[in-house]
Symmetry: C2
Subunit: 495 residues, 2 copies
């Protein structure tokens, strides 16, 4: 316990129960030692030693324990194993390799443990003095209870993250029902799996598991596949996914145990699988926080109203990271933690600012959004034009035997300012960074066409889309017209 | 033949021989239908129909026929086949697939033909009227001979490309000696191969062939490996390449036929292999052009002096693309062709400008340079600092089982302006585009740290290097200090 904490420590008689309670005061209290909470801690620790991080366990972050990391290990394993299907095309004989799914899942957990231990190791310098393993519970607007102790703080940062949503009736399915919290703990992969929810998590795991030999049936609401909002990309991508897995577009009415494992009901149709993975969404993990003690109306997710600084209106309580549901992805959660955790800076350049969005679904090829997506632009007042390119005949994609993909890029009609892009493309995650950084720096399509594109790269596929876009921007004469002269006919080699 | 050409056509008596020669005049004459020549043609055709492209064949560009494209098909095949070595780690049984190198080479040539046909198809609209299959030969400063005809032009664009350098004594080795001109025509891959030259072409083919089962011995001058100039990256990368192939650092004294195929002599050491691939460099393809007729002194490469516009001083003759040796890579060759081919623009923004360099060697992981390399900075007056990161413990690289790599990024000490980078990294080609575009737009390291980095991506490995770099820039207080707080200890998981 730090000196400052001791100085702030005193006892008081509580009014109602007459029971003696310890009241501690901290400068900052952080609830949740996940990505957002740990980012906040790093900032807080720069300016005070009088802080406490509370976590009810297990430690190691959602990302490393049950989220991005174990899923990526599984996805990359599937991608590696998938390469054997190209052997015939390159002149190699069929590969008879068999997958031992128990060994695969051990590999996933082994790397997962390495990532979790990395997180814990980073916490070591301050764990013994500033971390409490406990469940925090609000008892008033600025006061909490922790193992029977009363706590107050100048600033309270709630960073409890999110948890998979599972409708109560579905839980009766019992052991055959999984979320990502339990999925990677399985001994072996099931022979067949129903995946509920075709968003990023549901889709990327479905594709990987199908490639690993699981018979996957994916259920998603109409139009929800991989969060693709551009109808042209959805039209292009959907049949590609259907080549590998059964995709049922519809609303799931019921999930129940069945002699074959689990039964999924969609309207009058019944589907059966050995197990079910529920990935229909995530909700704030606030059940045990007793947020009603904050004295504010709670929304249907159980959250109080937050202002633009993620603060509960009129209080010293902040909600950062996945728990607030604003942008539930790691780099945004980390930024929110840093932003709220740090001391106000005297340097105006140090102010956080809204950055261009970047969202990636780790299928192969990847689905990605940079900046605004098609739907947001359609629903906005923005007058935009689009450019398009496909990878079916793209040179490098052909060489890689990965010639499946499509890009759509959006710019302001009157000036070519880059607004956004949706991708379903090989190296989509990398092309999306390139586009996102360009959008974030307010570049125009003409700026981008002046940048080097090495040959032969997948970036040249992006350039084809940018050239198409540049023709549609209504400036005459076009700036740097000579950059636009090499558009190849669709489907041919593009130098 | 176009109307304009006919109007310009007339006959004249030549003085010396008394023989009747046809003298034709064109607005533009382009010698060479490769990448640079074709780029020039596209621009020229926008403003005149009175032009001629001359090529002595074969058509299809060096890149598509014998350069970037067939090599990339081979390299990608090797990368695909290589994935089976990771099967054990992901829980799959050993893959006993055997490679049929004849089938592989057919695959390479089949895709190569598709690329070449794509180029030819793009030429179809103007081939019959504006392309002559012939060898052009200068007979004066602005006059050429073509199949006995005399030709003049307002502008002459020489774009004859380059050819592999093979010292004359080595040629005596005969059939066992290959350059990339003949390599992909082989029926089968040799059991063993000596590769002379450890630059981009030599190194990337050596690694791919070793992975395809060829016993490769690579010979390179000391310090030449993959054109890596940063000594730290060279120190890191060299043993990684040595795990897959024998690398002999030294000067090759002799190459000769031998009962086992070929004998390579380096000092007192002799090495033997079934075949040899010579990739020690490329020289301008000017032998048959009779450039001495230009009336200028020729340098040791056989080229006349060129001004900054790639023009032979005081003449109407331009040298563009690989033939001038300035930046012998495709996107620069294409730009040079466009730049010289187009009409002067009234729009000042339309002027070509020097762009940040981008150079990629397509090994796995890739070697790349963005902007200035370490050696150029060391030899310049620039006061620079560097940042560094390795991929050995990087999260996504671990998930991909590709956790080998290192990045060094360079910035101006006093302000953080990004100057350059050298990479030996997974997805190095993509990270290099990101860095090159940032350098090209004159971003600082602090600008880059404000951009989104998605999780879990290899771009986060780049961020680690950028954070390291940002600490070394001598500005206090650091702009946007809160972006710098998450440097993980080396080797642990980095969120």
């Amino acid at each position: 316990m730090s000196l400052l904490t001791i100085l702030h420590r005193h006892k008081e008689k509580t009014g109602s129960s007459g029971e003696e309670k310890i009241l501690k005061h901290y400068e900052v209290l952080i609830i949740g030692a996940g990505t957002a909470g740990l980012s906040a801690q790093k900032e807080v620790a720069k300016t005070t030693d009088n802080y406490l991080v509370v976590d009810s366990g297990p430690l190691g972050t959602t990302c490393a324990r049950v989220g991005c990391m174990p899923s990526k290990v599984l996805i990359e394993a599937a991608h590696i194993f998938q390469q054997r299907t190209k052997f015939n095309a390159i002149g190699a004989s069929a590969c008879e390799s068999k997958l031992d799914s128990a060994a695969l899942l051990r590999h996933v957990r082994q790397l997962r443990d390495r990532f979790v231990n990395g997180v814990k190791k980073d916490m070591e310098p301050w764990m013994s003095t500033h971390l409490r393993s406990a469940q925090a519970r609000f008892v008033g607007a600025g006061e909490l209870e922790l193992d029977g102790e009363r706590i107050t703080a100048d600033k309270i940062i709630v960073a409890t993250g999110s948890e998979a949503t599972v409708p109560a009736p579905w839980r009766a399915a019992g052991q055959v029902l999984h979320t990502t919290d339990t999925f990677f703990e399985m001994e072996t992969l099931p022979a067949s799996l129903a995946v509920l929810g075709a968003g990023a998590i549901g889709l990327e795991l479905s594709q990987a598991l199908a490639r690993l030999g699981v018979k996957v049936t994916l259920f998603g609401e109409p139009g929800s596949l991989g969060n693709i909002s551009d109808p042209e990309i959805r039209r292009y991508a959907t049949p590609r996914f259907r080549e590998e897995l059964e995709f049922v577009e519809g609303l799931v009415d019921a999930v129940a145990a069945h002699e074959q494992g689990v039964e999924i009901t969609v309207g009058s149709q019944k589907y059966h699988a050995e197990k079910v993975l529920v990935a229909i969404g995530r909700a704030p993990r606030v059940r045990d926080l007793n947020l009603k003690a904050l004295g504010q109306p709670l929304n249907k997710k159980g959250l109080p109203p937050l202002d633009k600084d993620m603060r509960v209106e009129g209080s010293n309580v902040f909600f950062v990271g996945d728990v607030n549901g604003i942008r539930p992805i790691l780099h945004e959660a980390a930024d929110q933690g840093r932003s709220v955790g740090r001391e106000p800076s005297e340097n105006p350049a140090d102010e956080p600012r809204a950055r261009a969005r970047l969202a990636i679904t780790f299928t192969y090829p990847q689905i990605a959004v940079a900046g605004k997506n098609f739907k947001e632009l359609e629903e906005s007042a923005e007058d935009f034009v689009f450019g398009e390119a496909r990878f079916d005949g793209q040179g490098r994609a052909l060489a890689k035997l990965e010639n499946v993909g499509m890009i759509r890029v959006y710019a302001r009609r009157t000036c070519g300012l880059m607004l956004g892009a949706e991708l379903f493309a090989p190296a989509g995650e990398h092309l999306a960074h390139l586009l996102c950084w360009a959008i974030d720096s307010e570049a125009t399509v003409f700026d981008l066409l002046r940048r080097p594109f090495y040959h032969p790269t997948l970036e040249e596929g992006l350039r084809t889309a940018l050239r198409d876009l540049s023709h549609k921007v209504e400036i005459e004469p076009k700036p740097w017209s000579y950059l636009h002269s090499m558009d190849p006919p669709a489907g041919t080699y593009c130098p």
